[in-house]
């Protein structure tokens, strides 16, 4: 075992496999993600990239291997998943804000109700976060009155409210109208520049090239390629990667 790599990694996949019945969704995945890295996971639809990211906070169970998050085995029986999930932020494709709560209440919900933090402290911090994503003035609005881009920025603030060391993004911009993609990417870039550890499933190749430390390319449940963006874009001659990039370009 390479002890030094293990220590530095905040998320590590150790030979992880997952089946849906007969269908193998993830196949022998082994990845280490060190603190502070921005990892972009991409691949054609059905390649297992969303499944991969959902196993990190236990939304999807796995059948084989281990996932260690900040020193804890996510899928071990004795692990308190709810405790663990406070250490990892998750941003959904469809935002999944709570429509019956104001924007501010969405952000303070977990700190106040789950972590039992003092209300004033939670609200102050939430307002700072909203200010950071550029939505301070929307604190008292309800999610139903926000655009998709605004909702996703609130969702990011909600994830940050728990001060997690890692944050996971599951296709955060693919449900958005094109003109709103930029505002969300901007928030994500600023997070990256502050040294946040991020795992992003996304098709935004510009984002990957600009802020990604590493690109993991998946196909049919397997990691095909795991390299720096420079290597990925310039030198990759893998046929499936070529086809994927061509498809992306055609859409754009």
């Amino acid at each position: 075992m390479n002890a030094t790599v293990r220590d530095a990694a905040i998320v590590s996949f150790d030979n992880v496999s997952k089946w849906y019945g007969e269908y193998r969704a993830l196949e022998n995945i082994s990845i280490d993600i060190p603190k502070g890295q921005v990892v972009v996971v991409c691949g054609p639809s059905g390649s297992g990239k969303s499944t991969l990211i959902r196993t990190v906070n236990g939304l999807e169970p796995i059948q084989e291997g281990r996932i260690i998050l900040d020193g804890t085995d996510v899928h071990a029986r004795k692990t308190d998943l709810n405790q663990l999930r406070q250490k990892v932020g998750f941003v959904f494709q469809h935002f999944n804000l709570f429509p019956h709560m104001s924007v501010l209440d969405n952000v303070t919900f977990a700190p106040i109700k789950i972590q039992k933090k003092p209300k004033d402290e939670a609200r102050d911090f939430a307002r700072k976060l909203l200010d950071r994503v550029g939505l301070a003035e929307k604190a008292d609005t309800f999610p139903g009155f926000l655009s998709g881009g605004q909702q996703q920025r609130v969702a990011i603030a909600r994830a940050l409210a728990l001060r997690p060391p890692v944050i996971l993004f599951d296709e955060p911009t693919s449900a958005l109208d094109p003109e709103m993609v930029g505002e969300v990417l901007l928030v994500m870039k600023s997070l990256a520049s502050e040294g946040m550890t991020m795992v992003c499933v996304t098709h935004e190749m510009g984002f990957a090239r600009e802020v990604g430390d590493r690109i993991v390319f998946m196909d049919q449940g397997k990691v095909i390629l795991d390299d720096t963006p420079d290597q990925f874009f310039s030198k990759s001659d893998h046929p499936r990667v070529q086809r994927f990039l061509a498809d992306i370009r055609r859409e754009a």
Binding site: R85, L97, G144
Partner: protein, 229 residues
């Protein structure tokens, strides 16, 4: 138009009182029972689901009057004699009417609550879990508050129907408003006056319920809340 004597009017008001109590008692029982039905229906056991589905189907497809008669005329046969006599001495009509009304409504209330819960997408549950919510916390803070909002309008009209259906209890001799109305009409033949007053009393009841319902709906409406803040 013939006026009622104070005593006759008083009698009608007593009837209204019984109507309101019968409604309140059976509504509370119906709601509690409905919650149990929803939980039992949500279990994995096929037998539990069949039982609840059967219960709901029976109460939806048999007239309330027949359900009331079944309880009042049929059920006592299954009871031991001393219990039966005790019941007949202690306002059995009211008890059986309340039971039948509660059971009948609970089937509908359970369906209303269940469809409210089903309308909340699973992703809401996932989002709550991702923030570290336990199952109970997710239900309490995220799923149930939203589901109740959706269920509110059908629940209000269900309460309205129950209020009106208490009149069926007259068929087994519960001295509620419709029963008293018939009684006074029989004695005095002041048909229009008696039925007029009774109708107004019922309308006051139903309109109060309707107003309360829309007040509740307004209070829990999200955009209204946003504007108030």
């Amino acid at each position: 138009m013939d006026l009622l004597t104070a005593d006759q009017f008083q009698q009608l008001l007593w009837g209204m009182r019984t109507t309101i109590i019968l409604f309140a008692v059976s509504w509370v029982m119906a709601f509690a029972l409905a919650l149990v039905l929803v939980v039992v229906r949500a279990t994995e056991y096929r037998l539990c689901r069949w039982f609840v589905d059967g219960f709901v189907a029976y109460h939806r497809n048999v007239p309330l009057l027949v359900q009331v008669m079944f309880w009042y005329f049929g059920m006592p046969e299954l009871l031991p004699e001393n219990v039966r006599f005790w019941l007949y001495d202690h306002n059995a009509e009211f008890s059986f009417a309340a039971i039948a009304l509660a059971l009948g409504s609970s089937a509908y209330v359970a369906e209303d609550i269940r469809s409210g819960l089903r309308a909340i997408p699973n992703t809401q549950f996932e989002a709550a879990s991702s923030l570290g919510c336990s199952y109970l916390q997710s239900m309490r803070y995220i799923v149930v508050p939203q589901a109740l909002r959706i269920s509110l309008p059908p629940l209000v009209s269900r309460a309205l129907l129950l209020f009106k259906n208490t009149s069926i209890a007259m068929a087994i001799g519960v001295a509620e408003l419709t029963y008293r109305t018939r009684e006074i009409e029989n004695m005095t033949f002041k048909t229009f006056t008696v039925f007029g007053i009774a109708t107004v009393l019922y309308l006051i009841g139903t309109f109060t319920l309707m107003a309360f319902g829309s007040w509740l709906e307004n209070r829990t409406r999200l955009d209204r809340k946003a504007a108030a803040k």
